[in-house]
């Protein structure tokens, strides 16, 4: 059995006592195949009983043990020490709490902000069967119907995507990837009847259209859920349901229109079309400075060669 000494650098923090977070180092002999969670358990049982973290199922199902390992959010129970060794195995493995959530102590974060956002955005099925008739009549979901939301139902609310999200990092009020995923999942559940209202809520400020599509949520989802596909689908749904008044929707519409008109994006009027006249007023100083450097987009873009072909495609698709 392969075995080696590995250093672990673990963030410690008790907000009631400590001014700022600090790090403790532990050097432990570890066998190949050992997970980060077993290391944390070992440290708690043998070396530092005050080390605080959350864990339960030890099998990647309950989602409670997510931490950042070497800067990336992961489940401690499914992450092997050997896969995290860098610098020829000599660098310490850094273990920190999830980002974008309040730290209760050490590696333990408060997940309540996520739960509260789910509550505000109706993250549950609103069925067509009235409450009093519940339990008397089956509402079956076929395999094909379930397939649409199959991957999304794998979400274990571990909080990794919440921790990795670029927008969450700069706006705590942002709706967040797990809530958008849950919205997609509920809106595509054939038993649900409240898609309109749910989508109206998530397209409000700090909502659906604020996603920067940085794909960090997808990249680091512990259950490999294509979260961005769900977000894409919700944006499509906003158009299908005619919820096109938001800046984000107007922005998307501009790309659609320009491709038909010239085949090129007309960037010069993009702020105006996205934000409206008053909204884009604040951009004038930057536009002037860019003009001095010759960086302003041209007033009129050229039509691509054979634009008629593109328009033909549009006409055919609109039929």
């Amino acid at each position: 059995m392969e075995r080696r000494e590995v250093s672990f650098r673990i963030q410690r923090y008790n907000p009631q006592v400590d001014q700022t977070p600090f790090y403790d180092n532990f050097k432990i002999a570890v066998e190949k195949g050992i997970t980060i969670l077993r290391v944390l358990n070992h440290i708690k049982e043998q070396l530092e009983p005050r080390l605080t973290f959350r864990a339960f199922c030890q099998a990647g199902i309950c989602g409670s043990c997510a931490v950042r390992v070497n800067g990336i959010s992961k489940l401690a129970c499914t992450t092997q020490v050997w896969d995290e060794l860098t610098g020829g195995g000599d660098d310490p493995i850094l273990i920190e709490p999830l980002s974008n959530l309040p730290v209760i102590r050490d590696l333990l974060v408060d997940i309540d902000p996520v739960i509260e956002k789910l509550r505000q955005n109706q993250g549950w099925v609103v069925p067509s069967i009235p409450e009093e008739k519940m339990g008397f009549k089956e509402h079956a979901v076929s395999d094909d119907e379930f397939e649409v939301i199959n991957a999304a139902t794998d979400c274990i609310l571990c909080g990794s995507c919440y921790s990795e999200c670029s927008m969450m990092g700069v706006n705590p009020r942002y709706i967040s990837p797990p809530v958008l995923l849950k919205t997609f999942r509920m809106n595509n559940d054939t038993r649900d009847t409240d898609g309109d209202e749910r989508l109206r809520r998530v397209t409000a400020d700090h909502g659906l259209w604020d996603c920067t599509h940085c794909y960090r949520c997808v990249e680091h989802c512990t259950k490999n859920i294509p979260i961005m596909d769900g977000i894409h689908r919700l944006r499509e749904e906003a158009f299908e349901r005619g919820m096109t008044g938001s800046e984000g929707a107007r922005h998307a519409q501009a790309f659609f229109d320009d491709t038909r008109n010239t085949g090129r994006l007309r960037e010069v009027t993009l702020p105006l079309r996205t934000k409206g006249v008053t909204g884009s007023f604040g951009m004038l100083p930057l536009a002037l400075k860019m003009a001095l450097k010759g960086r302003t987009p041209p007033l009129f873009v050229h039509r691509i060669a054979g634009i008629e072909r593109i328009r033909e495609i549009y006409r055919k698709l609109e039929k």
Partner: protein, 281 residues
């Protein structure tokens, strides 16, 4: 080496220096680029929200134009890269969707088959040209210049679609800098988001993202940020004064395109490469 070159909208407007600098490099690097004059805007990962069918047909057609020339399709914009590769993945995995798209392309004599790859200029440099050949061509090594490589998102994530760099610790751009004789600084933002795509819908938040990246590069004492994406460039350069408002940093930092640092190392002038067109110089 011959490629079809996808014309990105932003490189015809705000970042015209990208195509200009690539133009001046082609001969040195022995790369022939055939401009895809008939190619249409990829939709900037926005078109599909309005209509997934339009997104698929327009981008299937873009790739089919390169297939007609028997060439791989190269772009120097990371969002064009992601958008085109998303369409390619959908079409390559579904005969029905291919048939659907081809029904719109037939009267133009085009057909999508999946034979052309879609690549970023950075990949052409690291894979088709190769780092050792790039290093051989250096005439003015960037010795002593410290670069903060900024990858941006759509060239590394989602990795299942892009598949070159490890998104947690990308290295391809670092290797290009080293091949050109430059030095690297360690800083925490190289794989973070520049915020470009929400600049018009959530400006404050986007500027916080670009500001974080710019500030961390300055704190790491980099001389330049370098990026392979013109959208990242715009968020980091044009918006830099705004992004740094209220931050305690001692200076600004110029941002260079991938093509410009290669151009500098190959002995081209700043004027030729359009570096003086940047907002921060």
């Amino acid at each position: 080496m011959k490629f079809a070159y996808f014309l990105s909208c932003i490189n015809e407007s705000m970042t015209r220096e990208v195509d200009r600098s690539i133009e001046s490099l082609k001969k040195d690097l022995d790369i022939v680029l055939f401009k895809l004059e008939k190619g249409a805007c990829c939709g900037g990962s926005n078109l599909d929200y309005v209509s997934p069918e339009h997104f698929l047909v327009i981008n299937g057609r873009n790739i089919a134009l390169a297939e007609q020339m028997n060439l791989d399709l190269v772009t120097s914009c990371s969002t064009c890269l992601l958008t085109l590769r998303r369409a390619k993945q959908i079409l390559d995995s579904s005969p029905d969707k291919r048939q659907f798209v081809n029904s719109f392309l037939a009267n133009e004599g085009l057909s999508y088959t999946g034979s052309s790859d879609v690549k970023h200029l950075l990949w052409v440099i690291t894979e088709d040209l190769g780092l050792s050949r790039l290093a051989e061509k250096v005439t003015t090594p960037l010795t002593g210049i410290r670069f903060a490589p900024f990858y941006g998102c759509h060239i590394i994530r989602p990795s299942q679609l892009l598949g070159r760099d490890n998104p947690a610790s990308p290295s391809s751009l670092d290797l290009v800098v080293e091949a050109l004789g430059g030095s690297l600084v360690e800083y925490p933002s190289k794989n973070k988001c520049c915020g470009f795509h929400t600049l018009l819908v959530a400006e404050k938040e986007s500027l916080a993202m670009s500001g974080n990246a710019i500030e961390s590069a300055i704190r790491a004492e980099a001389d330049y940020i370098v990026t392979p994406c013109p959208l990242c460039h715009t968020a980091l350069d044009a918006y830099q004064p705004k992004a740094l408002e209220g931050r305690r940093v001692s200076r600004s930092i110029p941002v260079l395109h991938l093509s410009q640092i290669i151009g500098l190392a190959l002995g081209h002038s700043r004027e030729e490469l359009g570096i003086d067109r940047h907002m921060i110089t």
